[in-house]
Amino acid sequence: MTHVLEISGLVKKFGGLTATDHVSLTVDTGEIHALIGPNGAGKSTLINQICGEIIPNAGHIHLAGREVTRLPPADRVALGLGRTFQITSLLDDMTVRQNLGLAVQAREGGNFHIFDRAAKRAEIWDEVGETLNDTALSPRADIAAADLSHGEKKQLELLMALSQRPRLLLLDEPMAGLGHLESQQMIDSLRAARSDCAMLLVEHDMEAVFALADRISVLVYGRVIAAGTADEIRANPAVREAYLGEEDA
């Protein structure tokens, strides 16, 4: 079978600094692959290369069997890539409903129509209604995104990403800044979504990582120093020394 995401020998240099140093990893269908590492390990740089915001110096990225190394971001989305941002990135002046609506519309197409009425496209708003149903955001549906709490923003961003029906979801620190209860909700949401898409999860919250991840890769100074199941990583002495040892201390 082909991997949903396959990265091989990826290199990115900024001046003298090697932010990504021959990184190779894969994400398979239905899998949650976690990427951990201390601050400055190059996790965000890697995510941004997968998304296409940064073009690597060397190496290859394949998405669902297609080479996407140099494709612009939007084309990768068309191949089934979705993402959330480390600092939530929403359409601040629009309501929760409109944010979701735009995400569905972006997927559904017809985006160059200038004589239709977006507000009357039933296929969009029905789906948005269904998505919102039963979520904590439901009562907040007509509030501007800028006025949501931090946790709600994270939640909305996830819903928007899922509305694109991606094959692979890149999650850039979805737990960051969340309280304990909100983190639990987020873990539940992610767990519920895993049947729909594979995920590459960048996260500092080890509890969440160990709760969710099928496999874990550890990134330090731009290199993958270890990869394996949760248990293998826990047992890996190099990881303990380079990363967990410091973090847990």
Binding site: C51, E53, P72, P73, A74, D75, V77, A78, G82, R83, F85, S89, L90, L91, D92, D93, M94, Q98, G101, L102, A103, Q105, A106, R107, G110, N111, F112, H113, I114, F115, D116, R117, A118, A119, R121, M160, A161, Q164
Partner: protein, 324 residues
């Protein structure tokens, strides 16, 4: 009927009555004044679509206004002289041909300028659009055949079947009709699927890209649509004044259009029309009383921008208690 539509209808009827009112009160020049303000309003509204709704601050919009105007001027010139443009396109004085041609040519110009300019952003975008507009300005100023800096006279307003375009009131109503249609078009445009995408790009381009939107293509499309609108208004202006000149694309004209948008209210449908009307009336009223009208206009503009955010539309909303 919704309240907004009622207001629109009332405003439209009032505007339609302007020629009568002007005649009745002996202030017949109001017809021309309001007509010009409406055309400028259209040009400003077309700019507002990319500037207010799309977040693209173009400082070269007058280029498309001028290009549209020159299409009418050049076609009339060849019609009058019985020659052909580039040797094979005959001239004409039929509005049903000149206006679509103006819209098309302005759209083409916008496509070229936009395709290059949209590779930049921010202040650089402001300046590069200005640069392209300056190139158009210098091009037309050195076109000897079409009058150079003196411009082209269009001795007769373009003909529209069944109408006496020599009649000032008729011409005014034609302009009003176009302005109203353009307003409704813009209203539909900003509510359309495309309008939503453009609004999204203004608020958060990175997010839109992450949702699979190639923002460049959408912005370019918006830029072209906006340029076409400017071309239409330029073509109408030349018909209205029966004159086209490079002044139409001077950078200060781009600045004026921008001032109209900001004064009226960025990102609102009626704002640019209100801004154009206010600026135009203010200038021409003050000019009657003093040769130094620029001073009070400057001071008033400064007061507006210092004391209110969102221009005259915000003020109107405040006064009418937040109603739309």
């Amino acid at each position: 009927m919704k309240r907004e539509n009622i207001i629109l209808l009332v405003v439209f009827v009032l505007l339609a009555l302007v020629p009568f009112a002007a005649e009745f009160t002996g202030q017949s020049s109001w017809t021309k004044l309001v007509g010009q303000a409406l055309i400028y309003g259209m040009a400003a509204a077309s700019l507002n679509f990319i500037l207010g709704y799309g977040g693209m601050i173009s400082f070269g919009h007058a280029a498309f206004f001028g290009v549209g105007g020159y299409v009418v001027g050049i076609m009339y010139h060849h019609f009058d002289a019985g020659t052909a443009f580039l040797g094979f396109i005959p001239g004409t004085d039929q509005m049903l041909i000149t206006l679509p041609a103006a819209v098309l040519v302005a759209g083409l110009a916008a496509a070229v300028v936009g395709a290059l300019s949209l590779r930049t952003g921010g202040v650089q975008f402001i300046m590069i659009t200005l640069a392209f507009a300056q190139m158009f300005f210098f091009l037309f100023i050195s076109l000897k055949t079409y009058g150079g800096e003196d411009g082209i006279m269009v001795r007769r307003t373009n003909a529209l079947p069944g109408l006496d375009m020599k009649d000032k009131a008729t011409l005014y109503w034609v302009v009003l009709g176009f302005a109203a249609a353009y307003y409704l078009f813009l209203r539909r445009l900003v509510q359309s699927s495309f309008g939503q995408i453009i609004a999204g790009i203004r608020q958060n381009e990175r997010r839109m890209a992450a949702m699979g939107i190639s923002t460049y293509r959408y912005k370019l499309y918006a830029f072209i649509l906006s340029g076409m609108g400017a071309g239409l208004s330029g073509a109408l202006m030349v018909n209205f004044l029966r004159f086209a000149s490079p002044d139409m694309m001077h950078w200060s004209k781009s600045g004026e259009l921008m001032v109209m948008v900001i004064l009226g209210g960025v990102g609102t449908l009626a704002g640019p029309f209100i801004g154009a009307g206010a600026l135009f009336t203010l200038e021409s009223m003050l000019a009657r009383y003093t040769e130094h009208w620029m001073l009070p206009v400057g001071i008033l503009l400064l007061i507006v921008v210092m004391t209110s955010k969102g221009g005259l539309m915000a003020l109107i909303r405040k006064l009418t208690g937040g109603a739309k």
